[in-house]
Symmetry: none
Subunit: 229 residues, 2 copies
């Protein structure tokens, strides 16, 4: 499933955690101290960290702060301290969840999966992109404008899709030539202009009266929702 790093000093608990998570299908590494854990976190870049607050060398909150300085890896705090200040402090230091010892492996597993699910969902690339009344189906290579299908040529679709993946962002013609036309060496900006013109026509707009496609003079073009209805 995922690569999990456990930072826990207690020699009785650590093996239990490792074993429990391994049985649930995760790849598990572990460290018995804060500094060793940080080292491992940097070296092996795990998908998730389970961090004990009561470590012998450095306070767990400090480990978390140092970890956050270099990584966005999700962290679940496992702590014996069942009081508000500890919990609030840990969450505000950047932890994603807080579980109080003793806990069951079932609970830890559920929390691990909940955190990982949330992280994954953020990375997911949607199959369709919607920008206002414009729906771009990347997999099916179809485009609908106000629920009516618009027929695009391959280049036109690639161009629109590339812009739709960056809504609101200005993309230069050079970038488009590189990314859409796959011509890092050269190619004429005019080619992009022409395709943009055709695209605009099929989307029922013109450069003078833009709706979704706005050209930014001297820079490039931007796909965005119209300012007003």
């Amino acid at each position: 499933m995922a690569e999990v790093l456990i930072i826990e000093d207690d020699d009785r608990i650590r093996p239990l955690l490792v074993k429990a998570l391994r049985e649930l299908g995760h790849t598990v590494t572990s460290a018995p101290s804060g500094m060793a854990g940080l080292q491992l976190a940097v070296d092996s870049s795990p998908d998730l960290v389970v961090l004990d607050l009561g470590l012998p060398d450095v306070d767990g909150t400090q480990v978390l702060s140092m970890l956050r300085a270099v990584s966005q890896v999700p962290v679940i705090i496992a702590s014996a301290r069942d009081d508000d200040p500890s919990l609030v402090g840990a969450l505000d230091a950047g932890a994603d969840d807080y579980v109080v010892k003793p806990f069951t492996s079932a609970q830890l597993d559920a929390r691990v999966r909940a955190v990982l699910r949330r992280v994954e969902s953020g990375r997911e690339r949607p199959a369709t992109i919607t920008v206002g009344g414009l729906v771009v189906d990347l997999a099916g290579r179809r485009v609908h404008l106000d629920d009516r299908e618009v027929e695009l040529t391959p280049r036109e679709f690639d161009l629109l899709a590339h812009l739709a993946e960056r809504p609101g962002e200005v993309v230069t013609k050079r970038d488009l030539l590189v990314e859409v036309w796959r011509q890092p060496w050269g190619g004429s900006d005019k080619t992009v202009d022409v395709h943009l013109s055709w695209l605009r026509r099929k989307l029922g707009e013109t450069a003078a009266a833009p709706r979704y496609l706005t050209t930014v003079r001297g820079v490039g073009v931007r796909l965005a929702v119209p300012e007003d209805g």
Copy 2:
């Protein structure tokens, strides 16, 4: 901060939650039953949902499932049931966190912020710089002043962006000619003056009554928040 929906049937607890979260700066709506909550979640599309498990009409887990069928909104379960099956079941049904009643408002707030932080970090971060009521969208090359869009020419935008990247710092005209105009050899300072004048006009200020753009005679110009309102 964020728009939060609370689904909780207990007439004593619900107002307390609403009040607590409002005091922390969130916009809060609430519903006393599962179906009413679902309706609200669909209609108002909140940024986060706090869901009670023990509802009168429908079981909280079912509400969560139905909610997940139509929305990816993060959900924090608030429940009196402090047992593993409830917690695991809720998390596996798609909840993001689980907090056991009774809990303090500090703890709820910390958990709310932790969940929102994780969701936010997953989204693409629009590289914008905010200086007072001035918002500069670098990627989109757009500028908003007091929530109203300001149309700038390419040079004007580059000039403003360069200054916005160094808020409070005085930049010399020579630096601007080098960095913005890309003319290390020469070019006239007057060009900068002219563009600054136009920029000031579009930002609704004048050199005599500056707001964001302050010239430091003999040195250069600085972009900063106005001293007072």
